[in-house]
Symmetry: D2
Subunit: 222 residues, 4 copies
Amino acid sequence: MTYGHTFQAWRDNTPAWGLYTRHRFVQGLGDGTLPRAAFLHYLKQDYVFLIHFSRAWALAITKAETVEEMRLAAGTVHGLINEEIALHIKTCARAGIDEATLYATQERQENLAYTRYVLDAGHSGDLADLLATLAPCVMGYGEIGAHLATTKTCDTYAEWIGIYASVEYQQLCQDVGVLIDGAVARRIGDRADASPRWASLQARFAMATQLEIGFWDMGLDP
Amino acid sequence: MTYGHTFQAWRDNTPAWGLYTRHRFVQGLGDGTLPRAAFLHYLKQDYVFLIHFSRAWALAITKAETVEEMRLAAGTVHGLINEEIALHIKTCARAGIDEATLYATQERQENLAYTRYVLDAGHSGDLADLLATLAPCVMGYGEIGAHLATTKTCDTYAEWIGIYASVEYQQLCQDVGVLIDGAVARRIGDRADASPRWASLQARFAMATQLEIGFWDMGLDP
Amino acid sequence: MTYGHTFQAWRDNTPAWGLYTRHRFVQGLGDGTLPRAAFLHYLKQDYVFLIHFSRAWALAITKAETVEEMRLAAGTVHGLINEEIALHIKTCARAGIDEATLYATQERQENLAYTRYVLDAGHSGDLADLLATLAPCVMGYGEIGAHLATTKTCDTYAEWIGIYASVEYQQLCQDVGVLIDGAVARRIGDRADASPRWASLQARFAMATQLEIGFWDMGLDP
Amino acid sequence: MTYGHTFQAWRDNTPAWGLYTRHRFVQGLGDGTLPRAAFLHYLKQDYVFLIHFSRAWALAITKAETVEEMRLAAGTVHGLINEEIALHIKTCARAGIDEATLYATQERQENLAYTRYVLDAGHSGDLADLLATLAPCVMGYGEIGAHLATTKTCDTYAEWIGIYASVEYQQLCQDVGVLIDGAVARRIGDRADASPRWASLQARFAMATQLEIGFWDMGLDP
């Protein structure tokens, strides 16, 4: 399983990556110690997150330069709006939280900071800048799902884990990896890491990773 | 068949609407007198148009205020990229024009003016401003398809007519009508036509209609 | 001294307004109890804030519908970039902080959340949506400056207070008030508070006010 | 007089550059054969052009990555709104055209196509993409002014020529050249012409040049 060489380079140069993907919230999903209240609080915030994250992926379509880039970005938008958000609604419904309640969730500052940072990266830069801030969430959840699927010691959050460990989600991560590798090659070239832009793309990826950590922290604080 | 009351009002207050939907290019599709070269030239330009029109619909997702608005806009993006563009590729392939040729089409000024005007309406205003410029193409083609399906005297362009007269396309027009009525009610209220914004929305719709006429004119001039 | 009737209405309907304009950080500026370290930390974060706030005001120019709207927004951009940012550089230089250090300031999450929220309000909505999120900072500082100028009991932060109490800054607040009243009347009408948009504009103003409070809190926590 | 090495490279690789800067409209300004009606028609369209061109320069501020980039872009916005547009108003006033008439000018398609193309280049790409479409107008007028100032055989349009030949305008061109060289070096590196982006930046510059030719053609056709 690989999510592309650009992601791999960004990830390996982000010291905080492990703090994000091995966060206490993540551990609590794997061993079942995460309090139910924290999980439901997280789900509600994540519903709001997904709305703005979908908007950011839609922005990627507007910044595509080829039909192939459009198709890959549009496929992600479709998956987010029609599958991932729908799944959140279903999961929350089973927990007694209806969609109106979800939609009325008061967005926490840690949540807001993250998605608006991603959107601004897209508006201020080009597609590569935007993708560098979209990657940590997409691929990080892919890594977390795959990791927890083989290491979990409790099935309390097995359904959540199953989503991100699934063949479909892992395929999405690979598709996004292809999109990123292609977008970077097209705009920067084969030696992207030698370009002056590399440091700023790396910094955007690191900032989004930091904001993921803030999101997990917020999740533990209902 | 109705495409919503907002569209109906905009349409009925646009004197040039008939010049667009009953254009000589349209008549040529119905009676088969449209030269083949003009049709293929139009298809190539329309392929480029659809790319930028899809970008504008993706922009609508970024400007949605409700999940329902997002879903309707995302459905249109999906239909445009995965169905309408795909159909153009297939139709052109049968005529001996491959996708690389399509993509390399030199965009004509009349084409460029139209889609960039739509995109700017979205960036400078809110979702209602954007929808006012998206409506003439979507609904105009719906009207043209439905009209030609019952009045055509020649089957040369029956396949093209069939697409826009189809149940699926007519349903798309109705969905977009629902989206527009809802977006306008949400932002302006029930008496939208009494709002100071009405004149500017009407003017945007009229400008996009004018640019449609320019597109047909361009189609007749390969 | 009035900053326009739209601002007045938004302000009077925002319960947290007093928590922002009478915040402990503000009191510390007036009675001199604010620790120097907190003030310098605030100035550095505010330098980063002003960069992104200037970007948001520049976005307002791109969303203007009249030359008058453009002029007022451009005047604010000019004042921010050439006067307010320059003043921060000068003040910090006297405190031994050079511009390179300022520019390298690690942006705090509370800071980032605020400006990116404002930018997104502009990108997702129209000029009125953007102005509703720009107003709390501009006018709040105007109120704070005017209030502290007459109530301060210590001159430690007299220079800072003097800037926002100055005739020039108060004039800027009045100009922005004129811009907001005009933009709202033009887009929504004379009875804007009866429009369905009013609640969402009010909510944007309230969110930006909340983010101002977060900014002061952050200022107390170097 | 040099406007920077990036502009020079883009210009020298654009075959249509001479068709733009030595257009029949330009010759008519130099030898006085340009009909007065064409000139006044051009001034009115150019007033509308400058409004949207100012919006595009404001967009550049929102896409800047350094304070220096912001200052240079903001200086251009200031010059455009407070000087160049003001000058058009004054010139037109002397010719009996008031500002209300100017503002009510029906924007021609050639005009609309140009500025919306520039704005979309900015929204879809980063600052370098935007600057590649802004350069032909700014620097082309600088070249035209300087050329006509030394070659004109008639003083009918001496005032217009004088504006673009002025020390102030030539300085603006040099400042924009510095901004472009810096923005390109920062984002692409010292060997920008070896980057895969070079061809697309060059193509954007060429398209904007083509749209300038369309603008002159439109000027000759009141």
